[in-house]
C-alpha cells in the first residue's frame, strides 16, 4: 500500500465510522467504544478500568485547573518549580525511548528473537509518548501557544526547543512506522528507513532531554555532560521493564499462553540478561552519582545527604534495582514468569520514583543559603497526582486499545 | 485638586456595603469591587485623557512626617514616592511608605458610620454592625454627651488618642475636653510610648521632648536600644543619613547596644549585647572612664581649677569647689555620690559586657568629635527606665554634644496662625464650675501618678474598680490599647461596660468592642496638617492634600469632632459652629506663614498645599567649644548670655545641664521618687544605677521590638507587608525551631511559631510587637499566629517617674504546645 492510498484509506475509514455511527446510533456506538467490540478479554477490562480512571483523573485535574489554575500545584517560584508532572513526563518519554530501543533490537539490529515483542513495543512507545505529552500539556501554562511560539521562536540554544523538535519528529516517525508494520510491511526499504529514523530521532530527542537537565551549571545535582548517557541506560531499562510487564499482561501473566516464539524469548536467557545488564549499569551509575554527591563539597550537592536518609531512595535502590538485578542474574530465577514480572514492576516503580527524585532534588538546595532555612520541601499536590494518573491511565488505555484492535502480537511472516 | 473636596465628600453618595468585622470577607469584597469600580469609571468619564496628577501627602506609617508624592492617574492612586521638596524625605521613603495604596484600597475598610446591634461583646462576638447615616451617628454621640452633662457627669466621657498629627486633629482634643468639662478628654498614649526618655531629658536639660539630632555631621554614634535602622524616628531619614555617614570622610563609627542582633547592630561597627534593663550601668561605667581618664569635654563641662584630674577610682570624696563647672551642674557631687564606684569591672558584672569593651567605647566616644549618644525605649521601658535614661543622656553633656555641630538639639515649634475663635470665650458656667474640678482624671495622673503625663494603661483597672469612678463613654482616636497596652486583655473586659466609639477607618480589635464606628478617611483622602516630630531642630509643618475623593462615606476625624461639638448644647455648640471645619482651621493655621515665609517660599495655604511642607532653616542656636551663639542671618555669630541659654535651650532651674537634677530634688517630687523607687532622698537627683525589677515569673526576658515593616497599626492586614522578608527573630533558647510554642507569664499566654535564632541573648526571647492582631481584616484573621499580641503577656507595671509602661520588664516561660 503506498502512502497515497493509505491516506485515502484513513479518509474512508473516518467516513465509514461516521456512517457506522449513523447506522447504529449513539448508544450502540458508545457501547462499542466501551467494549471495543469483539469478545470480552483481559484487554477489555483494562480498557474499561483505565478509561474510567482516565475520565475521573482528567475530570479532577480539569476542575482544579479551571478553578485554581496551576496554583493547585505545590510547586513554587523560590523552591521546587518543576514537580511531579514534569518527572512523570520524563518517566514516560524516556520509557518510550527505551521501548523503541527494544523494538529496534529486532527491526534494526537484527536480533530476530526480539521480533515477538517488536510491534507491542512500538505501540507502547507511542502510548507512553502520548501519555508523557498529555501530562506535560496539562503542566504547561499555555500548551496551545507552544504550537506556534516554539517554531517561530526558533531558539536554537535551548535544549527544550530541540527536545520539542525531535520528540515531535519521533512521534511522527513512530506513528508512520507503526502504520507500516500494522500493514504488514516490516522490511521494505521505506519501513526500514522509518525504523532507523525513528531510532535516531529518539536517541537525539532523549539526549536533548538529558541536556535539558545536564547543561544546567547552576544546578550541580543535574550538571553532568554524561547525563544523556545515564538517561539512555535508564530509558532502556525502563523500556525493557514495560515490555516485559505489558507482554505478560497481554497473556494473562502466563508463559504458557504465549505463542511459541514469544515463549522462547520469555523463557530464554536473552531477555533477562539484557534486562540484568541494563539494571547493573544503572546501579553503577546510581552508586557513582551518589558517592560523588556525598563526597563533594559543592553547593547544591548537599541534597545527597538528604537522599541517602530518605526511605524512598533506599526502596528505589534496594527493592527497585538490586533485587531485580539479582533475580534477573540468577540462572534459575531469571526464566520464571513471576520473577520477570516482579522485576519489571519493581523497576517501573523504582524509575517512577527515581524520576521524581531526580527532578526535585536538583531544586531542593536554595540558590542562596540565606533565602531559606535549610533545604526546600516538596510533596506533590492532589492535582499533580491526578496529572500523573492521567499519564498512567492513558498508557494503560492506549495499550488495551492496541491489544484489542491492532494485533500487537504480530510479527513478520519470515521471522 | 479642587478645594471643595471636603464639602463634596460630605454629600457623596452612600454605599451600604458594610464591613462587619467577623463576617466581612464576602460583603467587603463585593463592596470594594463595586465601589472602586465606580470611582474609576467616574474618573475615566470625566478625564478626557490619562493625566497623572501628583499630590502632596504625609506618610502615615510612623510619626516621622515624611513628605510623599502621590501619583494618581484616571482617579487611581498607583504610586507613591518620597517628595523631593520634603527635607525629611529628600525623594525617599522607608519600606512602609510604599504601602499607602494598599491601605487606601484595603477591601476590609469600613464603608461608613455604623452602629452595633449585638449587645454582647467579646472576641468571638460579631458586633453585627448596621450602617447608619452620619446625622444619626453624630446625634447619637451628642445625645450621650449632652445627657452626661445634664447629669453633671461629663467626666465620665473619655477621649483617648495616639498618633495625633497636628492642630487639625489632636490639637482640637484638649479644647473639646475643656469646653465640654471632662478631665479625660483627652488622654494620650505617651505612657505606652516613650515618656521615660523625654522625662530623663526633662530632668537633666529641662526639655520635655525627644531630641533633634545633627546626624550628618557626627563622627561617632553610641546607640542604646534605639533601633536606628528599624524604627527610630525619622526612620526614612535615618536610613538616608546612614548611607552618608558610613561613606563620608571620615566615616562615622557606630557602636550599638541592644539585647538581640537586629539590623542596627548588624550594621554597626561594634555590637554590645546587653542584659535587659542594665543599660544605665553601662552608661555610668562609660562616664566613669571618661572622668578617670580625663576625657570629658572641658569646653562644655569645665575643669578642675588647677587642671589636675582628681577623678580616680574609689577616690575619697572630692570637693565641688575645686571644679569650675561651665554648662553643667553637679558633676563632682555626682562623682561623689555615684560615679566613683561605677567602674567598668563593676558594670561588666551587671551588664555582661566585657570590661575591655566598656573602656574602648568610652575612649572612642569621648575622643571622637563630634559624637552623640542616643537612646529610646530599649533602656527606658524598665522599672529603672528614667534613671537609665538619665545615665545615658548625661554622656551627651560629658562629651559636649549638646547643641554642638554633629550633636543634639531641641525641636522648634511652628508659628501657626491663630484659630478664628478662642475657646476661652465659649466656656460656659458648667465647664468653669468648681464642681468640675473635684473629679480627677480616670488614670489618676496628678494624684497617684505625680510626675507622669499619662497613665492610659491604668484605665481598665480604674474603671472596673470604679476608682475614682466608672466611665460611661469612651472614644478612641489613633490608639488601640486593647491590642498594644500591657495586659491587653483587661481592656476587653473594661470595654464591655462602656459605650465605645471607634474612629478608625479599618476593622480592628477596638472595633470588635465598639458600639459606634465613625470611620476616618485614610490618609491619602485627608486634608490634615502635621508639624514635624523632632528632626533637625528648625521648625517644619507638613500638609496632607487629598489625592482622591474619599472612596467611601467616611469623615476626617477633625470634622467628626467638630460636628459632634456643634451638636452640644450651649456655647460649646456655638464655638464649633464658629470653628466651622478642619479646612477652615488649616487655612487659619497657614496664615501664620504669611509673615514668616518658609525657606521653600511657602507663605500661604495655597503654596503650602503645592509644596506639602513649610519649613524655616536654620536651627537658631549652636554651642561651639563651650560658647553659645545665635544665628544672626548669616552665621552663628551672636554670642548668647547665660540667661538666653536658660530661656531658649537649657531650661532647667539653673540654666545648666544638671547632673544633679533640681527638678527631681524639688520638694514636690523628691519624697514621691524616694517612696516609689527606694532611692534615698539625698540621692534622688543623680543619674544612677537602680536595680531593675522583673515581673511575670518566667525565666526568659521578653522583648517586643518594632521592626522595619511595622506599618502604623495596620501591617497585619497588608499581605504585601507580611510577605517581605525581615531579619529573623525568635530566641536562642527557643530550641523548638518551627514548633508552635506557648509564651506565658503570670498575666497571660499566647502561642506562636518559634524560630531558633543565634542572634538573641540566651536569656531572652524576641517577639515583634507588630504580630498578633486578631481582628484587622481578612488577612490578619486568616494568619492568626501568634494568637495574640505580645502585650497580652506583658505585666502592667509602670516606671514611677515617667509613668512609662515597663514593656521589657516581663519574664516569660516558653514551652512547646
Amino acid at each position: 500500500m503506498n502512502v497515497q492510498s493509505q491516506e485515502r484509506g484513513y479518509v474512508s475509514m473516518s467516513d465509514t465510522l461516521i456512517a457506522h455511527w449513523k447506522d447504529v446510533g449513539t448508544r450502540a456506538l458508545l457501547k462499542e467504544v466501551l467494549t471495543l467490540g469483539g469478545e470480552r478479554t483481559t484487554a477489555t477490562t483494562i480498557w474499561q478500568v483505565s478509561l474510567l480512571g482516565l475520565v475521573i483523573s482528567l475530570a479532577i485535574a480539569f476542575y482544579m485547573l479551571v478553578t485554581e489554575g496551576h496554583a493547585a500545584f505545590n510547586t513554587n517560584s523560590w523552591g521546587v518549580t518543576w514537580g511531579l508532572p514534569i518527572s512523570t513526563y520524563v518517566f514516560f518519554v524516556l520509557t518510550s525511548t527505551g521501548l523503541t530501543f527494544l523494538a529496534s533490537l529486532a527491526m534494526i539490529f537484527g536480533f530476530d528473537e526480539f521480533y515477538p515483542v517488536a510491534k507491542r513495543c512500538v505501540w507502547l512507545a507511542l502510548a507512553t509518548l502520548v501519555a508523557g505529552f498529555a501530562t506535560l500539556a496539562l503542566e504547561l501554562g499555555h500548551p496551545f501557544r507552544m504550537l506556534w511560539a516554539v517554531p517561530t521562536g526558533f531558539q536554537y540554544r535551548s535544549p527544550m526547543f530541540w527536545m520539542g523538535v525531535f520528540y515531535t519528529l519521533y512521534l511522527l516517525l513512530l506513528l508512520l512506522k507503526f502504520v507500516k508494520i500494522h500493514g504488514g510491511d516490516w522490511d521494505s526499504r521505506a519501513s526500514r528507513y522509518l525504523g532507523i529514523s525513528s531510532f535516531v530521532s529518539v536517541v537525539i530527542a532523549h539526549s536533548t532531554l538529558g541536556l535539558l537537565f545536564g547543561m544546567m551549571a547552576m544546578r550541580p545535582m543535574w550538571y553532568d555532560g554524561m547525563l544523556p548517557v545515564y538517561f539512555l541506560i535508564t530509558a532502556a531499562m525502563s523500556g525493557a521493564a514495560f515490555a516485559v510487564f505489558f507482554t505478560y499482561l497481554a497473556y494473562g501473566f502466563s508463559q504458557e499462553r504465549m505463542p511459541e516464539k514469544l515463549r522462547a524469548l520469555a523463557s530464554g536467557s536473552a531477555l533477562p540478561n539484557v534486562f540484568a545488564t541494563l539494571i547493573g549499569i544503572t546501579i553503577l551509575a546510581t552508586v557513582s552519582r551518589t558517592i560523588t554527591g556525598l563526597w563533594s563539597n559543592m553547593d547544591g550537592l548537599e541534597v545527597y545527604q538528604l537522599l541517602v536518609r530518605s526511605p524512598m531512595y533506599h526502596f528505589e535502590f534496594w527493592a527497585g534495582l538490586v533485587v531485580p538485578f539479582v533475580l534477573m542474574l540468577s540462572p534459575t530465577l531469571q526464566r520464571q514468569a513471576g520473577m520477570q514480572i516482579l522485576s519489571a514492576a519493581l523497576v517501573m516503580a523504582s524509575l517512577f520514583m527515581g524520576r521524581l527524585e531526580f527532578v526535585v532534588s536538583g531544586q531542593l538546595v536554595p540558590m542562596f543559603k540565606g533565602s531559606a532555612l535549610g533545604l526546600y520541601q516538596y510533596a506533590p499536590s492532589m492535582t499533580e497526582w491526578m496529572l500523573a494518573l492521567v499519564g498512567i491511565f492513558l498508557t494503560f488505555a492506549l495499550y488495551a486499545f492496541g491489544e484489542k484492535l491492532l494485533d500487537l502480537s504480530a510479527q513478520p511472516a519470515r521471522a | 485638586m479642587k478645594l471643595d473636596i471636603l464639602n463634596t465628600a460630605i454629600s457623596r453618595r452612600r454605599f451600604l456595603q458594610v464591613s462587619g468585622v467577623t463576617g466581612a470577607a464576602a460583603a467587603a469584597g463585593l463592596g470594594l469591587e463595586q465601589v472602586t469600580g465606580q470611582v474609576v469609571t467616574d474618573a475615566k468619564a470625566t478625564a478626557a485623557e490619562s493625566k497623572t496628577v501628583i499630590t502632596k501627602n504625609v506618610c502615615n506609617q510612623c510619626p516621622a512626617r515624611c513628605g510623599v508624592d502621590v501619583y494618581t492617574t484616571d482617579g487611581r492612586v498607583h504610586a507613591m514616592y518620597g517628595s523631593l521638596e520634603s527635607p525629611i524625605s529628600n525623594g525617599k521613603l522607608c519600606p512602609k511608605g510604599y504601602l499607602g495604596a494598599y491601605i487606601l484600597y484595603d477591601p476590609d475598610r469600613f464603608k461608613g458610620p455604623m452602629k452595633r446591634t449585638n449587645p454582647k461583646k467579646g472576641r468571638d462576638e460579631d458586633p453585627k454592625f448596621v450602617p447608619i447615616s452620619w446625622d444619626e451617628a453624630l446625634k447619637t454621640v451628642a445625645d450621650r454627651l449632652n445627657a452626661l452633662r445634664d447629669k453633671g457627669e461629663s467626666h465620665r466621657f473619655a477621649l483617648l488618642f495616639g498618633r495625633g498629627w497636628g492642630a487639625s486633629d489632636a490639637g482640637l482634643l484638649g479644647t473639646f475636653g475643656r469646653v465640654y468639662g471632662s478631665p479625660n478628654a483627652a488622654i494620650g498614649h505617651s505612657s505606652t510610648c516613650a515618656d521615660a526618655s523625654k522625662k530623663a531629658k526633662r530632668l537633666l536639660d529641662g526639655n520635655y521632648d525627644y531630641n533633634a539630632y545633627d546626624y550628618a555631621n557626627t563622627n561617632y554614634m553610641l546607640i542604646f536600644g534605639a533601633s536606628f535602622l528599624e524604627a527610630y524616628r525619622p526612620y526614612n531619614n535615618n536610613l538616608q543619613v546612614w548611607g552618608h555617614i558610613r561613606t563620608k570622610s571620615p566615616k562615622t563609627k557606630v557602636t550599638a547596644v541592644d539585647v538581640h542582633w537586629n539590623t542596627t547592630i548588624s550594621g554597626a561597627d561594634r555590637a554590645l549585647l546587653i542584659k535587659p534593663g542594665t543599660d544605665g550601668a553601662l552608661a555610668l561605667a562609660i562616664a566613669h572612664v571618661i572622668l578617670t581618664e580625663g576625657l570629658w569635654d572641658r569646653n562644655f563641662v569645665g575643669d578642675f581649677k588647677d587642671a589636675v584630674n582628681r577623678f580616680k577610682v574609689g577616690e575619697a570624696t572630692l570637693n565641688p569647689a575645686d571644679f569650675n563647672e561651665k554648662w553643667t551642674k553637679g558633676l563632682v557631687e555626682w562623682w561623689n555620690a555615684e560615679l566613683k564606684d561605677r567602674t567598668p569591672k563593676w558594670a561588666a558584672g551587671i551588664t555582661t559586657i566585657a570590661e575591655r569593651d566598656i573602656v574602648t567605647v568610652a575612649r572612642e566616644l569621648a575622643t571622637t568629635k563630634p559624637a552623640m549618644v542616643l537612646f529610646e525605649r530599649g533602656p527606658t521601658a524598665h522599672s529603672n527606665g528614667v534613671y537609665n535614661g538619665m545615665a545615658i543622656h548625661a554622656l551627651n553633656a560629658l562629651i559636649g554634644s549638646m547643641y554642638a555641630e554633629g550633636g543634639l538639639m531641641n525641636q522648634m515649634g511652628v508659628p501657626y496662625g491663630k484659630l478664628p475663635v478662642s475657646s476661652d470665650d465659649f466656656m460656659d458656667e458648667y465647664a468653669k464650675s468648681d464642681d468640675r474640678k473635684q473629679y480627677p482624671r480616670i488614670d489618676l495622673v496628678g494624684k497617684d501618678w505625680l510626675m507622669a503625663s499619662n497613665q492610659i494603661q491604668a484605665i481598665p483597672a480604674h474603671h472596673l474598680a470604679g476608682k475614682p469612678y466608672k466611665l460611661d463613654t469612651i472614644l478612641f482616636y489613633m490608639t488601640a490599647p486593647i491590642y498594644s497596652a500591657p495586659e491587653a486583655r483587661k481592656w476587653e473586659e473594661a470595654l464591655q461596660t462602656m459605650y465605645v466609639i471607634d474612629t478608625s477607618p479599618f476593622p480592628g480589635e477596638t472595633a470588635m468592642f465598639a458600639d459606634l464606628v465613625l470611620p476616618d478617611h485614610t490618609y491619602l483622602e485627608r486634608l490634615q496638617d502635621a508639624p514635624t516630630y523632632p528632626f533637625q531642630g528648625w521648625p517644619m509643618a507638613t500638609l496632607r492634600v487629598p489625592a482622591v475623593k474619599p472612596l467611601y462615606d467616611t469623615k476626617v476625624f477633625g470634622d467628626t469632632l467638630i460636628e459632634i461639638g456643634k451638636r452640644i448644647k450651649g456655647p460649646m455648640g456655638e464655638y464649633y459652629k464658629a470653628l466651622g471645619s478642619t479646612e477652615n482651621v488649616i487655612k487659619h493655621l497657614a496664615k501664620g506663614f504669611e509673615d514668616k515665609p518658609g525657606t521653600n517660599s511657602v507663605n500661604s495655604f495655597e503654596s503650602w498645599k503645592e509644596k506639602g511642607v513649610w519649613y524655616k532653616k536654620p536651627y537658631l542656636w549652636r554651642q561651639v567649644r563651650g560658647e553659645f551663639y545665635e544665628w544672626d542671618g548669616t552665621g552663628y555669630n551672636k554670642p548668647m548670655k547665660p540667661e538666653d541659654v536658660k530661656a531658649k535651650l537649657l531650661k532647667t532651674k539653673s540654666g545648666k545641664f544638671e547632673f544633679k537634677s533640681s527638678y527631681l530634688e524639688d520638694e514636690h517630687y523628691a519624697e514621691y521618687v524616694h517612696e516609689k523607687t527606694g532611692v534615698p532622698l539625698e540621692r534622688v537627683g543623680f543619674p544612677q544605677w537602680v536595680e531593675p525589677k522583673f515581673y511575670g515569673g518566667g525565666d526568659l526576658h521578653f522583648i517586643s521590638p518594632k521592626v522595619a515593616l511595622q506599618a502604623e497599626g495596620r501591617a497585619g492586614n497588608l499581605p504585601h507587608a507580611t510577605t517581605i522578608a525581615q531579619p529573623v527573630v525568635g530566641g536562642k533558647k527557643t530550641i523548638y525551631d518551627g514548633d508552635r510554642v506557648r509564651i506565658k507569664s503570670e498575666v497571660g499566654r499566647i502561642e506562636a511559631i518559634a524560630r531558633h535564632y543565634e542572634g538573641v541573648r540566651p536569656d531572652t526571647v524576641i517577639l515583634p510587637n507588630i504580630l498578633g492582631h486578631w481582628a484587622q481584616g481578612r488577612w490578619a484573621r486568616q494568619n492568626r499566629l501568634p494568637t495574640g499580641s505580645a502585650s497580652e503577656v506583658i505585666v502592667n507595671k509602670s516606671e514611677p517617674i515617667s509613668g512609662l509602661a515597663s514593656y521589657y520588664a516581663t519574664k516569660v516561660t516558653v514551652e512547646r504546645v
Binding site: G141 | L229, A271
Partner: protein, 251 residues
C-alpha cells in the same frame, strides 16, 4: 546604544527593603512576588553572630541563561541590555526559572504566601491574572516587555523598570533619582533606596557614575563563576573585595 546596569553599594545598604516594597508598588506585584528582594542570612553562634543581607534584583546578565533556555524566545535580551519577557509568547514551561542562578523569576499562578489569595480578592474579569485597584495606568501596561499586571500562567521578572528607563533621553550616562530631570526614568528600587546604595547608568559609557564606581571600588558580580556576567555589580565596602575568578569585562 546604552547598556544599562546597576551598582549596589553594600556598605550603604541597610537591608530596609524599601527597594522591594517600592518595586511591588510600581510594578503591581502580588504579595511575595518580589522581583526585587533582600536576602538575609545568619552565620555563627551567639555572641559572635553575623547577620548579612544583600539586595537582589534581576541581574540582567550579559550572558543570560534564562534567555538561552527559553524555547519560544519569550524571554529575550534587548540591545540596551534589558532581559525581558514577552507575555504573549510565554508558554509557562518555567525552564527559565530553573536556569536562572539568581532565583529572580516568578510564576504567576502559585499558592498564595498568605491567604486569602489576593488574586481572588481583586479578581480580574479579563485576561489579566488579577485586578489590583492600585494598578499602573492602563496606557503604561506593555505585555511585550513584561510590564504591568501579567496574564495567567506566565513567568514574570524584574524589568529594570523598562517602562521608565526606556523613556530616558538617548545618551544619558546616569539615571539619578536625585536629579529631577532623570528621576522619572530611574528604576523604582533606585528611586526608593533611602541610603542611596543603588546607582543606575550606562555601563558602556566610561564617564558614567556606575562605570567609575565599578572601577574605583572593585565592583564584583554575584556567582560570577557561572559566567552569566550580571549587569548588576556589588560594592562590598572598604578593605578590598574578594576577587571573582573571572576577569570583569563589561562586554
Amino acid at each position: 546604544m546604552a547598556k544599562w546596569g546597576m551598582v549596589i553599594d553594600l556598605e550603604k545598604c541597610t537591608g530596609c527593603q524599601a527597594c522591594t516594597a517600592a518595586c511591588a508598588m510600581e510594578n503591581n506585584r502580588q504579595p511575595g512576588e518580589n522581583w526585587q528582594d533582600v536576602i538575609y542570612f545568619t552565620e555563627g553562634e551567639y555572641p559572635s553572630v553575623q547577620v548579612k543581607w544583600f539586595p537582589r534584583p534581576c541581574m540582567h546578565c550579559e550572558n543570560p541563561s534564562c534567555v538561552h533556555v527559553c524555547p519560544t524566545r519569550a524571554t529575550y535580551k534587548t540591545d540596551e541590555g534589558f532581559v525581558l519577557i514577552d507575555w504573549d509568547r510565554c508558554i509557562g514551561c518555567k525552564y527559565c526559572m530553573i536556569a536562572c542562578p539568581y532565583g529572580v523569576r516568578f510564576y504567576t499562578d502559585e499558592k498564595p504566601l498568605v491567604g486569602p489569595d489576593i488574586k481572588t480578592v481583586f479578581k480580574s474579569n479579563d485576561e489579566h491574572s488579577w485586578n489590583p485597584p492600585w494598578k499602573m495606568p492602563d496606557s503604561r501596561e506593555d505585555w511585550k516587555h513584561g510590564v504591568g499586571v501579567q496574564p495567567r500562567d506566565v513567568v514574570s521578572k524584574c524589568t529594570f523598570c523598562y517602562h521608565r528607563v526606556s523613556k530616558a533621553p538617548k545618551g544619558t550616562p546616569d539615571l539619578s533619582e536625585h536629579d529631577p530631570k532623570t528621576r522619572e526614568y530611574t528604576p523604582a528600587c533606585v528611586v526608593a533606596c533611602p541610603p542611596t546604595a543603588r546607582y543606575f547608568g550606562d555601563l558602556d559609557n566610561p564617564e558614567s557614575e556606575v562605570s567609575k564606581m565599578i572601577s574605583n571600588k572593585n565592583g564584583v558580580r554575584l556567582l560570577d563563576q557561572l559566567g552569566n556576567k550580571p549587569q548588576v555589580y556589588y560594592l562590598t565596602g572598604v578593605g578590598g573585595a574578594v576577587p571573582s575568578n573571572r576577569a570583569i569585562k563589561k562586554t
